[in-house]
Symmetry: C3
Subunit: 326 residues, 3 copies
């Protein structure tokens, strides 16, 4: 694995989930693998969970870690070719990425969308160029359109908590991605990526996947092929085993917060419609706006376990990359 | 030890001082203890000495360290329950603390008072909730009302420099906490904590403790019980063996800088009233405002040695916590 | 080596280049040397290459690294003695440096010039005081007037790429430092330092050195003694084997961006005047303002290799310092 930017980089997701759970059971068994290897974590945007979990994953594998918070250092990068650099950008991504590749064996990169221009965000220009010029394996720490470490952790969490005895030995869980309100315009990266991983898991017969959102909030079909789409939240929740609550801004009216009907915040009343569903969220979560405190503080919430599994997702990715480095 | 937030968390302060001095003599003897353990340092406010000394202490013990400068990342945390989070706070402390606890074996937390509302600051709401929700042992890196790693280092410094032969084999040193001027309104955390540790040491018959401050600058009695209180600096300094110079804002007129009589800056003339006292300060110090350059650059200053001892204080705390992990 | 601030701190530059190349061939051979030693990197100004390469160099040697971004933490330091500190500076460099020396075995310091007052910048007041008060060996990560780790990496790069068979077994390469345009007023630290190292290498018969700049951009003669000075770029480039492209502001009219004749951007047309010269730049580079994209993306550019060699330069310096610690 030279690149981890989406589910398409993973040959076998079932095996990958099992790899991660093996690392969770035995975190420090592979420290020779990372000896004298350096992971560079490059953040163009803020990070809490992703930075800490990926840093810890690398340390567990015996690696060194260097963090570059480019957003805080005001080191504006030029991405366009053929530009006379007489303005505010101080370095071209061609040099910046190549130089980081000189000092690091693996790089992680976070680069959010600007939410102004859909084509610009969805062609992943910055991310793609960084990968092209740095010359070393790259892990996505969330790009403009995907957050694969989060989605992998989500799948791990579903896998380790699913108890088929509840509903019959061969039953697959029903997983619902449910749009929720927010005050800010958020990227589609987390829901795109979650949808992509769940559609793949559905193909592998691991679960059934439904997306529920108000009109106007449909995600790009590039990420949702195979998913059941619902516009009525209550219909979608009926019989659900997992609810993944998440806000996102409109893809169609790109980056906009549209009006929407009432009743999209997840709460205990809606939970009553489900098969005693477990509730997930990538965090940070706006309490009592996206998701009620009663759920977050109750027995159905998986959000902390899910955040904890970010560590094992990252460690499985880094381990696979290290195994292919010489 | 699951918590280090005040002198009350320490079963035996004499033993703890000796533990720290044993680590100073042999810093790297316990590296197996910290192997594969991670210390997370969470700063809601800036730090120089505390961050470096605690980081170095953890490295000496073989731990990994991850630093989170929450103040610089603009990751505003909500602390109140029952709030609809549709404003500027992006994450609730319940989730933020719990997530950090997932990735770290021990957490350090710095959280200053706001100096607006005394009750809010003195009930240590933020600190207490962080401890409650993170689920792992917590070291205070300075809270709204206390700075116990500093005070522990102060006691270590007094212990290692006190030479009873100067004044008789059984004599105890006279320690004076002396208020000094400053241009900004500073918290009471350092003097509260120093007073608390010195009062405890006085109970243990290790020293005699006096606090000198102008009218209006009295500290909360919760921290000063047993101390001799003086309003005349020269009287207080008479026969002193250690002078701890420090500014703080008013506790009574909470957070205010009050007018005060002249003559509270410590200088050589006042030093002449003492028993050739050693002079301490937690740093950073405002030269020639709180404390004269002639003292800081002269033989009576202990400020650098005292800062150096921050390392051994932190290492003793972390070592004790590590011994109780599993 | 207790200090690395200029070429004058290096007893034998040929040997030092060979030391660095030996480390490049065998990066992890000296990890016992750095065990339980801590490098503190203190940045008063931003850094990308320098921080990462020096951090990685220390890790290769088995050291621990602690980074202090003082510029981002707003910890304004007082450098003048005899000042009543009742203004905006929160700590005196006497205490700040001494405290960092308590926690670190070696310190690295970056401190840029302000470009307001030439005497103030060129007497290196901040840097000199930091060295004086910290009490441990210090590596310059770029001071007001020099960037010796960069220049050392530059010499390493010339040495490892020079193929004397091209022009005769005893021929020395012709190295040209060529001024180039920029939109901002930049320090003279990189060109000063490069000139100083090249003049020393010329003395050692390793190369011939020429500086080309427009009228008014002459560097201080303290750094350029022995160099051939040209005001016509094309004359300077004639027969060049290495071109070091770099902007700097005026030393004479201190810190100013002066008008200059056209034609100082390096491009393929000018490269045609040379002996198929290799092109160097310390980075970050403003593309198509200082140096053309066609050169940077072509076979004559050494800029990435040069940045990579920053690692071995730093590692050679740290190794030498570690060998003399205890």
């Amino acid at each position: 694995m030279k690149l981890f930017t989406s589910v398409h980089d993973v040959p076998n997701i079932k095996q990958f989930v099992n790899d991660a759970l093996a690392l969770k059971a035995s975190p420090y068994a592979n420290q020779d693998l990372g000896k004298n290897k350096t992971l560079g974590l490059v953040f163009m945007n803020p990070s809490l969970r992703t930075r800490l979990s990926t840093q810890k994953a690398a340390l567990n594998l015996g690696m060194n870690v260097m963090v570059m918070n480019m957003d805080k250092e005001g080191w504006a990068l030029e991405t366009q070719d053929g530009v006379v650099m007489n303005g505010s950008t101080v370095e071209h991504i061609r040099e910046a990425a190549a130089v980081m590749g000189e000092y690091c064996d693996i790089l992680g990169l976070r680069s959010f969308p600007k939410l102004n221009n859909r084509d610009e965000d969805y062609n992943e220009d910055f991310f793609t160029k960084f990968v092209q010029y740095c010359g070393v394996p790259v892990v996505s720490l969330e790009s403009a359109t995907r957050h694969p470490l989060q989605s992998f952790a989500d799948l791990i969490t579903i896998h380790e908590t699913w108890n088929p005895l509840r509903v019959g030995a061969n039953a697959k869980p029903k997983v619902v991605l449910a749009w929720a309100p927010h005050v800010k315009a958020l990227p589609q990266a987390v829901p795109n990526s979650f949808a992509e991983w769940m559609c793949k898991a559905q193909q592998e017969n691991m679960l059934d996947f439904t997306i529920a959102q108000p009109e106007g909030y449909e995600l790009s079909e590039d990420f949702t092929t195979g998913a059941k789409i619902e516009y009525d939240l209550e219909t979608a929740l009926n019989g659900a085993d997992y609810i993944y609550v998440k806000n996102w801004s409109s893809y169609k009216e790109y980056g906009k917060v549209l009006t929407y009907p009432d009743g999209w915040m997840m709460n205990n009343e809606k939970l009553g419609l489900t098969n005693d569903a477990k509730v997930m969220h990538c965090l940070p979560v706006r309490r009592d706006l996206e998701l009620s405190s009663e759920i977050l503080d109750g027995p159905n919430s998986l959000v902390i376990q899910e955040a904890g599994n970010r560590l094992w997702a990252a460690q499985a990715v880094l381990k696979t990359m290290l195994e292919e480095l010489k």
